[in-house]
């Protein structure tokens, strides 16, 4: 008998220079992380506009994670510093509106950290799964 276990849909925005390569490394090393993590490659983590995050939730994401180079290592020198400030403010606002704070995260993953990428995704997916489906930022029209 097939058990329908709830699996959260995770959208991961990964910067082209570090985190996406980190995800690649995780794959090359055959490190397991949930298949429901959908990676969207962005030039830099600071490319991620708050609108991207909300739209991901609208279209059915249960959690959104942004991965970029470690502070100081940005390919564009300072992009991830901006990400850090913007996301701190945005996540705090989402929390202020009563949206679960565990549904959003920022993580710094370098190109050499395939293991960290897999571990981060496993941990994040687990935390989001514990919350259950995204109800507070859902758009019913987008449910199948």
């Amino acid at each position: 008998m097939q058990v329908n276990e709830y699996k959260p849909l995770i959208v991961a925005f990964c910067c082209n220079w570090c985190s996406y390569a980190g995800a690649d490394l995780a794959g090359n090393n055959r490190l397991a992380y949930p298949a429901d993590v959908k990676i969207i490659r962005v030039p830099c983590s600071c490319r991620v506009n708050p609108m991207f995050i909300l739209r991901a939730f609208q279209r059915g994401a249960d959690g959104v994670i942004i991965c970029g180079c470690h502070p100081g290592d940005c390919h564009y020198t300072s992009g991830n510093y901006y990400t850090r400030r913007r996301m701190a403010a945005l996540f705090s606002m989402l929390d202020f509106l009563g949206i679960e704070r565990e549904r959003t995260r920022v993580e710094w993953v370098s190109a050499a950290e395939g293991a960290k990428f897999a571990a981060t995704m496993n941990d994040f997916a687990q935390k989001v799964a514990a919350l259950g489906e995204n109800k507070r930022l859902e758009d019913l029209r987008c449910k199948k």
Binding site: R59, G60, D139, R141, C142, K144
Partner: protein, 342 residues
């Protein structure tokens, strides 16, 4: 004339809601009133009127028209209409009751708007006479008597009772269902209230505002009036006036991509918006002055021209109360019409 004592009004609401969903103005925490569904314990607001007009019941701000699903090269069209059930809108003021006549002429003329028509068929309007009009009220400018509201059933609230009178078959049928709660009575109390309200109407600051300078055929005369520049100069271009207005009827039809299909819906549009009536070639009203002028020319000239002189304003005063910069149809009428109303 029938009456129901005010201490039994909750019983009256309970009785009505047995046969149909009952909506009535309720007070919000923010101080404004809005329509809400009645359930036990819900009190009828004492506010003069709701912030949003009851046109929402028949012409909702957002309404799904149909949906599409695609699979490969085939496209499935899904009818999203649901057969409406009867509902009662209680406590509608005379101005808003008149607004339905104005909307009817748009939506019920051929080809009929089936979404609107269905809701009109199922909706029963119970009006409530005004006793304390606001300084922003000018319904009498458009020939509306706030003490004798239209609707399927008219009601008058006095200190101790609610008086009811059916005006249509739908109204009579509803009153018959209410049976024992109502008792027969004379018209005296209602007539006394009407007289009192009529006296107040003569004291309203906008009582002398009239429509003599407006109506069909005035387009050439009013369109190029230089005063439009001045009147529209501080308009923010927001949609407050159009969205609180009981007679504004413009809408947009849009497609929403759900990621696995498309929902086609319509939503209120505002002639104040830069995207209003945007077409392939661009926009036909490029400045806020043109958009502003469109709104008032539509209400005071174009609409009456096409509808036997009926103006598309009912004087409810919502735009007077809600415009962020306090620019409104009264100021326009006084300036453009040279009508000082004093």
């Amino acid at each position: 004339m029938l009456k129901c004592s005010l201490d039994k009004i909750q019983n009256l609401f309970a009785e009505i809601s047995k046969s149909a969903k009952l909506y009535l103005p309720v007070d919000g925490k923010d101080g404004g009133a809005s329509y809400g569904e009645w359930s036990e314990g819900v009190e009828w607001s004492g506010a003069l009127n709701t912030t949003k007009s009851p046109k929402d019941f028949f012409f909702p701000q957002t309404e799904d028209l149909m949906a599409f699903k695609t699979a490969g090269k085939s496209i499935e069209i899904i009818d999203t209409r649901s057969e409406s059930e009867d509902f009662v809108v209680f406590g509608v003021r005379a101005c808003d009751a008149k607004s339905f006549d104005i909307l009817d002429r748009v939506f019920l003329s051929e080809p009929q708007d089936s979404f609107y028509a269905m809701k009109r068929k199922h909706g029963i309007i119970v009006t409530a006479a005004c006793t304390k009009p606001s300084e922003t009220c000018f319904c009498q400018t458009f020939g509306i008597d706030p003490a004798s509201p239209a609707g399927d059933i008219s009601t008058w609230k006095t200190a101790d009772a609610l008086y009811l009178q059916a005006n249509t078959e739908k109204g009579t049928a509803l009153l018959e269902k209410l049976g024992a709660i109502l008792e027969e009575c004379s018209d005296d109390a209602v007539n006394a209230q009407k007289e009192k309200t009529a006296a107040i109407m003569q004291k309203l600051p906008l009582k002398d505002l009239n429509t003599d300078d407006f109506g069909g055929g005035k387009t050439q005369e009013l369109f190029n009036n230089p005063a439009w520049d001045e009147l529209s100069q501080s308009c923010l271009g927001c949609g407050t006036c159009t969205f609180v207005c009981p007679t504004c009827q413009c809408y947009d039809i849009k497609d929403f991509n759900t990621g696995n299909g498309v929902i086609r819906y319509r939503c209120w549009d505002s002639c104040m918006y830069s995207e209003f009536t945007r077409m392939a070639h661009g926009n036909n009203r490029l400045t806020q002055k043109e958009r502003f002028r469109q709104r008032f020319m539509h209400k005071l000239v174009y609409y009456p021209e096409n509808n036997d002189g009926l103006f598309s304003c009912v004087g409810c005063g919502r735009c007077l109360a809600k415009c962020p910069i306090s620019m409104n149809i009264v100021k326009v009428m006084k300036k453009i019409g040279g009508n000082k109303g004093e």
